[in-house]
Amino acid sequence: MSLEEFKNRNIGKQNYVKLDLEHTPQTPLGRFSRVVRRTLKGELFVGLYVTLREMINALFRGEMHTVKYPLEKLPISPRYRAIHDMLRLLESGHYRCIGCGLCEKICISNCIRMDTRYDENQRKEVSEYTINFGRCIFCGYCAEVCPELAIVHGGRYETASEQRASFSIFEDMLTPVDALKQQKEYDGFGAVSPNADENIKKTPLAY
């Protein structure tokens, strides 16, 4: 399903079909004759036929309507807030997070914690970063506040774990360097608006 379809919520404007239902008989005779009619009409076999047809379609013609979870998963909406991903810069491959700590500050359930330090290149380095998913309520504030589009919600929505606390560290969430090409920009909560370019005001330059 594409994003456009997902966003189309104009309920009420589709072409609904009104079913042509017969009136319920009012007299005992009328009710009796409806039972006789339905019994002899063979509607039961119509139903059995439909079931059989769909079974054949599903099994032999590849028209299955359910998925074999957990072997198969349905795609989820980009607005769904699942387990976080940490993205990298596409050009340099360096992680995007600058260690500003805004996600740590905004987190409503206090489950993000990070350590930073002054590194050899005179930059702020994120030396450790964890999210406790046992406490995360997937509110999406962290992804929204992140100025670097570094922390985003990814597609992993299975959060059951054996313990109440379940920590993820930076490396778990970070896009693997070799998977950089497959890294997708996040469209959901906190992403730049489609008309962002129009809103930018340029600083005048004297040169």
Partner: protein, 757 residues
């Protein structure tokens, strides 16, 4: 209209329709702030003279064309002032736009983010877009050791320069003027400044930051614990800023120390020497029992003066119940000195305070290497020197290069001749016509020629001194630790009291250790004696130690609550910044039957007869008001004492020929607690001039062994080219427990043995 009776000094102005009172000489901004009226500023720093570099503080004055800088304009009686209107807003908004030209967009990583004046005012004046521009340039970060300077972030407010010159007195920073290219420059990059970090604390943006703290935490993650500095008797107001140590360690850690930089200052030890906590202490019942047993059978409790008033009070209670002798080498001399002082002055406490010191117009420092002994006293002398153009007379056997920029007259006297120096001062400063006859007779009888020859203070020097102080009022005499353990200490104390009483001087007797004043007032101290002893931060048969080196642990001063008594005669609260799991002195006292639930239960019961107030710990205030008035704890009351003392005849002065060793910690070192701090540099060398080296036949880098007061020092000797004369300086803060056994005169002539290397 106003019901107030206005004296000649007072004035009334109207700011934004509100009638405000002030006194002559107040600036418009000062009056506005005192009346809770907000005027935005970027370069104003209360503790220095108005800098007037930002123009944010502009206001309109009725009848005056154009805008007036409220930070430097003195208020005129009857003036009507507007602080906010459309034009002023536009003006200020434009200033903020200019500040933002090419300012790096790095709030995300900047240490200042969250408490940055530039961020705040940019938001306040709604600068959402930029209409000015300038060619950007490469401005690399400079590393000045413990501080780093990022010129790209600097807004050239000049606060750092002013604080370094006007408060610290080191004159390290200067402005390189060049329009948009202007930067702050470190004029002595190779040399060490006094590493106080004052410049960094007043920087409104992230241009000057601590290299050690840099990028380790955001300001808003840190919890501020207000407290007082534990390292010297100034007990400066500060906040420990704490947070968990890291992802894997939930224990709280102190990340940095901040202060109310608008009104107060800190020296390097206070700002950077915060990592002295006694960590890892545990409760061990058996150890507790043996500690209580030791205290029970102790004949002597020997302790250092880096303890709280409450702990001193507990020790005094133990003495009262068990008859144990209390020995505090750091405070005993001072206590006797104070007693002798009172016997002549008729008051229990000296009259001076730091605030008055900073407003003095004539200052004499006697018997202290004050820059090292108590930097905050030196800062206040600097303020007086810069603002009031005070005459500063520095009397000491050693010339101090660090004092050069503020001292107007250096009077050198021979080591050991402090009594003579005090007598000569009394003779010079007291007008014999205005004093009781016996004092006049005493002064007339002094053999000036002889005293002057023995102490090596020329009569011409004294004449110069008396001339320079003529026609000025507001004098302060600062006396320090060289005097308290001098063999003639009592006589000196009486002479100083006479100068205070009859010479129109305020006197400050700088306490020789953090809470030496508190201990002197609270404890009834005894002379040292033999017998089974318990040491508290001092040597003994059983040692309680907050340094972590004894038989049982005690909390350090950043791990407990209590109060200290400062040089300002102020009882100030300290709070626990870090957890402590071991036993406290109060626990041990309870084991002895001296019962109190908490240590701070003693705060209310500090001796009223010594000038303390019966105020509970939790009721002590701890803040500065909008005008910068200090509301921390309370001031001790100076009580009347009997004037039984008489001035003594000056004794024959001992002479010190040859090399002399002076006991003095320097470089932000005061005690074994500062020595424990890894953030401060170490000071463990014997330093002397070339002359001392020649005299003592030592070479630079040679290792020597010598003994002073039973403590053996093995030190590397270093020739210090900034020093002159025959006196070398020996630190003792690194001597652990024995660093508190300082009940002796600071100048000594030990036998220096060269050790094989």
């Amino acid at each position: 209209m106003s019901a107030r009776i206005t004296t000649k000094n007072e004035l009334t102005i109207t700011i934004d329709g509100k009638v405000c009172h002030g006194i002559q000489g107040d600036t418009i901004l000062q009056i506005a702030r005192a009346n809770s009226i907000y005027i935005p500023t970027m370069c104003y720093l209360t503790k220095v003279q108005p800098i007037a570099s930002c123009r944010m503080c502009v206001v309109n004055v009725e009848g005056v064309d154009g805008m007036i800088l409220s930070c430097q304009e003195k208020a005129v009686d009857g003036a009507v002032i507007t602080t906010h209107n459309e034009a002023l807003y536009k003006e200020r908004q434009n200033i903020m736009k200019l500040y933002n030209v090419n300012h790096p967009l790095e709030c995300g990583v900047c240490d200042k983010s969250g408490e940055c004046d530039l961020q705040n005012k940019t938001m306040e004046f709604a600068v959402a877009s930029q209409s000015f521009t300038a060619r950007d340039m490469h401005r690399p970060v400079e590393n000045w050791g413990f501080i780093s300077y990022d010129p790209a972030l600097c807004i050239m407010c000049e606060k750092c320069v002013h604080v370094c010159n006007e408060v610290v007195g080191d004159n390290i920073l200067a402005i390189s003027v060049g329009g948009y290219k202007s930067t702050i420059i470190n004029t002595r990059p190779g040399e060490e400044c006094s590493s106080c970090g004052e410049c960094m604390s007043v920087c409104p943006v992230g241009a000057l930051v601590s290299t050690d703290f840099k990028y380790t935490s955001n300001a808003w993650e840190l919890q501020k614990i207000p407290s007082s500095c534990a390292h010297c008797s100034s007990a400066c107001s500060l906040s420990y800023e704490v947070k968990h140590s890291g992802i894997g360690n939930h224990e709280k850690k102190i990340y940095r120390v901040t202060n109310n930089y608008e009104f107060t200052s800190l020296c390097g030890a206070g700002r950077f020497g915060y990592d002295f906590a006694n960590t890892g202490a545990k409760r061990d019942r058996a150890l507790f029992t043996s500690a209580v047993e030791a205290l029970k059978k102790a004949e002597v409790i020997r302790f250092g003066a880096t303890i709280t008033n409450e702990e001193a009070s507990i020790l005094q209670h133990i003495k009262e119940s068990y008859g144990t002798a209390l020995v505090c080498d750091e405070a005993r001399g001072y206590q006797k000195f104070l007693e002798a002082y009172s016997s002549v002055s008729g008051k229990s406490l000296y009259s001076g305070s730091l605030k008055n010191l900073s407003k003095s117009r004539g200052i004499i420092v006697l018997g202290s290497k004050i820059n090292d002994d108590n930097p905050m006293v030196k800062y206040h002398i600097t303020m007086a020197s810069r603002r009031e153009r005070a005459r500063v007379v520095y009397m000491h056997p050693i010339e101090d290069a660090a004092m050069q920029s503020i001292v107007t007259q250096f009077i050198k006297y021979e080591a050991g001749s402090e009594e003579g120096a005090a007598a000569l001062l009394a003779k010079t400063l007291i007008d014999t016509k205005k004093v009781p006859s016996e004092i006049a007779a005493y002064l007339d009888d002094l053999d000036i020629g002889n005293l002057s020859a023995e102490s090596n203070i020329g009569e011409d020097e004294l004449e110069k001194l008396s001339k320079s102080l003529i026609k000025k009022s507001g004098f302060t005499l600062v006396a320090g630790s060289d005097l308290y353990n001098h063999p003639r200490a009592e006589s000196i104390a009486k002479l100083l009291a006479a100068i205070e009483l009859y010479g129109d001087f305020e006197l400050i007797l700088v306490p020789p250790a953090t809470n030496a004043l508190g201990v002197s007032l609270i404890c009834d101290l005894d002379e040292d004696k033999d017998g089974y002893s318990v040491g508290y931060n001092a040597p003994g048969d059983f040692v309680l130690s907050a340094m972590g080196s004894g038989d049982i642990d005690m909390p350090a001063l950043n791990q407990q609550e209590g109060t200290l008594t400062s040089v300002d005669k102020r009882v100030v609260p300290i709070n626990a910044a870090l957890a402590y799991d071991g036993y406290t002195l109060n626990n041990l006292a309870c084991g002895l039957g001296v019962e109190a639930k908490y240590t701070i239960d003693y705060t209310e019961h500090l001796p009223v007869v010594k000038g303390y107030e019966a105020v509970a710990f939790d009721d002590l205030p701890d803040y500065f008001d909008a005008s910068g008035n200090e509301h921390r704890g309370y001031l001790l009351h100076s009580l009347d004492a009997e004037q039984t003392g008489t001035l003594e005849e000056v004794a024959d002065l001992p002479t010190y020929d040859g090399g002399v060793v002076y006991q003095c910690n320097s470089g932000n070192q005061f005690t074994s607690f500062t020595n424990k701090s890894k953030k401060l540099g170490t000071d463990d060398k014997l330093r002397g001039s070339q002359q001392f080296a020649t005299l003592s036949k030592l070479n630079d880098g040679q290792k020597v062994r010598f003994e002073i007061n039973g403590v053996v020092y093995e030190r590397v000797f270093m020739i210090d080219t900034s020093m002159k004369g025959t006196i070398a300086i020996n630190p003792y803060a690194d001597m652990g427990l024995s660093s508190t056994t300082v009940s002796y005169y600071r100048f000594n002539q030990p036998k220096l043995e060269v050790m094989d290397s």
